[in-house]
């Protein structure tokens, strides 16, 4: 990741923001007011910065989940399902066990949530390794299954008595505290990004993952079990998303509610591609998208622009990041490493 290749995401974001301004102007509002309100709501004071990092935390995890799977040539669109499974299980551990000291209870809830996400993520890995079912479709289908399953768990099994469908509030001993305005969970997400980076860069396992991603056939001839890599990579990817959900439950929301963090799976894709699938690049990319989410309501309030404009900006960012010709033109060289996830379709 040299400076020139970092230029591509920056230019993509700038282009997307410019086109976004055009759309806001066309819809009859002032883009200057809108963007000023967006920044005011996300970066102007410690409180709004805290809110941005709060939004960015699950996004770092969701982005890491996609980026990590990408390294093995897998496209995990199931971050949403893995996240809600991790979130509700962590919530159940958080409220269901009492009289544990904080030092055990909070990490236990996170760990169990992460493992639940890993199990959910491993399913498409196993289906791909053994049956050849493409992970893009199976992960999307599992998102819908997970949403129904967690809805059922929240409304039947672990429901808080009362009219609202949600799980009871977690015990204080399971809560992840804030550090001033900043949620501690954000630091956990940064540690997770560093761990992914080290795993990929500094270990044999990481080397095997990248070999499979670059050329699965060559990796197979080199003696790497491609099936094992598919399953373990998807499990780790699911674990990252599940941990993101657990952090959200135990660090921010305090319980599981249906409709929890909808749309995260797609945002994870934008973030991973914006980071050019580099684990550490995921952090600034997630903060950018997190800031858009945190400032969205201020933008609606002050400039009367619907916060969904940020979704359009995200799609534009994706277009500019994902088209190799634009990238090549900007770099004017062949060094651009093209992103490819379509090579394993149906194989």
């Amino acid at each position: 990741m040299n400076i020139r290749s970092a230029l591509v995401p920056v230019l993509a974001v700038a282009l997307a923001i410019a086109v976004g301004a055009l759309i806001i102007a066309l819809s009859g509002s002032s883009p200057v007011d809108a963007y000023r309100a967006l920044i005011e709501g996300s970066l102007s004071d410690p409180k709004s910065i805290g809110r941005t990092l709060e939004k960015a935390t699950p996004l770092v995890m969701g982005g890491l989940a996609v980026a990590f799977a990408f390294k093995a040539g897998l496209f995990n669109i199931g971050g949403q399902g893995q996240l809600v499974v991790g979130a509700i299980i962590a919530g159940a551990v958080g409220y269901g066990i009492s009289d544990l000291p904080w030092i055990i209870h909070a990490p236990l809830a996170l760990l169990v949530g992460a493992l639940a996400g890993a199990a959910w993520g491993a399913i498409p890995g196993v289906l791909k390794a053994t049956r050849g079912a493409h992970e893009v479709i199976t992960t999307i289908m599992l998102n819908f299954v997970a949403l129904n399953l967690t809805d059922w768990l929240a409304s039947k099994v672990w429901r808080e008595p009362g009219v609202i469908v949600r799980t009871p509030r977690i015990e204080p001993s399971a809560e992840i505290p804030r550090w001033g305005e900043i949620p501690t969970g954000f630091f956990l997400a940064v540690v997770a990004a560093l761990a992914c980076w080290y795993l990929l860069r500094g270990t044999t396992f990481g080397f095997e993952i990248q070999s499979v991603g670059l050329n699965a056939d060559a990796a197979r001839y080199a003696g790497i079990s491609v099936r094992r890599i598919f399953v373990t990579t998807m499990a780790i990817s699911g674990m990252l998303a599940g941990l993101g959900g657990a952090i959200e439950t135990n660090g921010i929301v305090g319980r599981y509610e249906p409709g929890f963090n909808a749309g995260l799976g797609f945002e994870g894709i934008t973030i991973a591609l914006l980071a050019r699938t580099h684990p550490l690049g995921v952090i600034p990319a997630a903060i950018l998208i997190g800031a858009m989410q945190a400032g969205g309501s201020m933008m609606q309030f002050k400039a009367d622009v619907q916060p969904e404009i940020t979704k359009i900006i995200q799609a534009l960012i994706l277009v500019f990041v994902a088209t190799p010709i634009i990238v090549r033109w900007l770099l004017s060289k062949r060094e651009a490493d093209e992103l490819s996830v379509s090579s394993t379709w149906g194989s």
Partner: protein
């Protein structure tokens, strides 16, 4: 009938060959009919309701699968069917709501679908971007655009599209309601299945499409424009997905809701694969999936699982996974799928 009764060049009876090749379909179909009759306890109204509901649920899936098929047969994966449908459902509804004319709305939906197809082609064929990422762009953009430019409280002044009864045929028991008193897009879908089949396997366009999908450089050598064929097919497919979108907002529901496609575009991909990239096969697969959704209604009739609707809601998605895991290993996609084409 001449075709069916004839013997082919090797002297085998064509009808017998077709029946043999489709034996698992026949067995599955027979089992489903038996199950339907059993659950409905030979109750005509309920059987009719299930079959009609099966057809209704299958319509957007067949259309989505045909869209995906046109793209994949020419070598381009279209993971953005969901986004194409959603945009068209929204555009069709907004236009029909503003003009008060349903036909204009349907035309707008189809046009927007074609536009989305052109965008997909522009990114994945023109700019040679990754096809799956290009499709993902469509999906994210559709969610953003349809919710950004959607104002709550709009209605259709003329109501939703009404069924057309095909004369005395509509008075037949069971079949009358299931087949002969449907709405226009449903009839059109039933017509499109053989039309696309004929197009793909019996016309020059179809031969060229399949050549481009299997071996693009060979096709280019004999003078077929790979890029041109891929653009054409993605735009045509986009129009079909647009029809599915218009079906959802103007014919099935009669309004637009955020995220109303609810995964149908992805289920359609599974339908396409299960139908082995063949329109008739996809139609059969869509009926099976439609049946999986229609069973929900039956469960309500029988008062099964009504206290746990989430499990019924899972059925179509679990069926998709099981079908993919069971069949995709043996299904073979067009050979050049997923690879951007450049002439060098």
């Amino acid at each position: 009938m001449g075709l069916v009764m004839a013997d082919d060049a090797k002297g085998r009876n064509v009808l017998a060959a077709i029946l043999y090749r489709g034996r698992w379909w026949l067995v599955t179909g027979a089992l489903l009919v038996a199950f339907t009759l059993w659950t409905a306890e030979f109750h005509q109204a309920q059987t009719t309701a299930i079959l009609a509901s099966t057809l209704r649920h299958s319509t957007p899936l067949v259309l989505g699968a045909l869209c995906g098929m046109l793209g994949e047969r020419s070598g381009v994966i279209n993971i953005g069917i969901e986004g194409q449908m959603l945009m068209s459902a929204w555009a069709g509804f907004m236009v029909a709501s503003a003009t008060g004319d349903l036909l204009t709305g349907v035309v707008a939906g189809v046009a927007v679908g074609m536009l989305m197809g052109a965008v997909l082609a522009g990114i994945s064929v023109g700019l040679r971007g990754d096809q799956i990422i290009a499709g993902t762009v469509l999906n994210i953009a559709a969610i953003g655009i349809t919710s950004f430019f959607f104002t709550q409280g709009r209605t259709l002044p003329s109501g939703k599209i009404q069924p057309i009864r095909l004369g005395p045929l509509a008075d037949l028991p069971v079949a009358g309601r299931v087949l002969f008193s449907n709405k226009p897009i449903t009839y059109l879908t039933l017509l499109l299945v053989p039309v696309v089949w004929f197009g793909l396997f019996r016309t020059t366009w179809g031969l060229r499409t399949r050549a481009v999908g299997e071996h693009p450089s060979a096709a280019e050598t004999v003078g077929i424009s790979v890029v041109g064929m891929r653009y054409l097919n993605l735009i045509l497919g986009g129009g079909i997905a647009g029809l599915a979108g218009a079906y959802l907002s103007l014919e099935a529901v009669g309004s637009f809701e955020r995220g109303m496609t609810n995964g149908k575009g992805f289920v359609a991909l599974a339908v396409m694969i299960f139908g082995r990239w063949n329109p008739v096969g996809a139609w059969g697969a869509a009926l099976l999936f439609g049946y999986a959704s229609a069973v929900q209604t039956q469960f309500q009739f029988r008062d099964w699982l009504t206290s746990d609707p989430q499990f019924v809601g899972m059925i179509p998605f679990v069926v998709t996974i099981v079908v993919l895991a069971g069949f995709v290993g043996r299904a073979r996609p067009p050979a050049s799928i997923g690879q951007p084409y450049s002439r060098e």
